[in-house]
């Protein structure tokens, strides 16, 4: 399992993290790796980079107030409930300034990362 510092470096190499994004990113990536570990989900370096880039986008959306369009129920059901729970847990680790854990689109988009790792997509 990667150390948080390594992941931050990996992501920062590809998309420059602003100073004000660093803390939130650290919180989210730690929550994500812990959540995956808790359910014995192994996430490869390639997947981790994708996940990291996704989490930076989550932070940027939260900071700019951007809200993603809603998804329909059928789409939500495409991904297993436990993967939604995992995503919700990760987003729940964010600060009060980022109330995205109840946003079903944000939850689904993150859940797909975990589902893809689980199903080796």
């Amino acid at each position: 399992m990667y150390m948080t510092g390594e992941i931050i470096q990996l992501v920062d190499q590809e998309i420059k993290l602003a100073d004000n994004e660093l803390n939130d990113f650290k919180t989210l990536i730690e929550a994500a790796t812990k959540a995956a570990q808790d359910v014995q989900l192994v996430i490869s370096e390639e997947r981790l980079l994708r996940l990291g880039v996704h989490l930076v986008a989550v932070i940027r959306r939260a900071n700019s107030g951007e809200v993603l369009p809603p998804v329909d129920e059928i789409m939500l059901q495409q991904v297993a409930a436990d993967m939604h729970d995992l995503a919700r847990k990760v987003l729940g680790a964010t600060l009060v300034t980022m109330p995205c854990q109840e946003d079903s689109t944000e939850v689904l988009l993150l859940a797909v990362h975990f589902a893809a790792a689980k199903e080796s997509i």
């Binding site: 590809e14 998309i15 390639e46 980079l49 994708r50 996940l51 880039v53 996704h54 930076v56 986008a57 989550v58 940027r60 959306r61 993603l68 369009p69 998804v71 789409m75 495409q78 991904v79 689109t105 944000e106 689904l108 988009l109 797909v112 990362h113 589902a115 893809a116 997509i121």
Partner: protein, 120 residues
Amino acid sequence: MEKVKVVIGDRLGKGQKVAKGVEQAGGIPILIPGVAADMKLADIMHKEAADFGISFCGSGGAGAITAKTKYGYDVAFGLRSVDAGVTAIREGKKVVGFGFMDTEELGRRLTEAYIKLQSK
């Protein structure tokens, strides 16, 4: 001149309208089916020797970054409009990433921009 091949990968398995737009412009769309399609974008582009790819996932970043790190493709993501996509194609980007924008106009105009670029 060979037809332009465009791979489309949407996190939620959409992109049908974009594919239709690619066809309207005379390109060949390769729409990756199912959820997590954006995560397969780079590999499918490589396998199909595609001209360019379009990634959708809220920012388009995950698919684009994989394409960049795995195959060295030039990418732009976090794009918010068709015009921004057209500009990126004109600049020679091979993967363009958007939030969610399943429109025929997007597929058509990106393909047209690419064809125009090739004919220069």
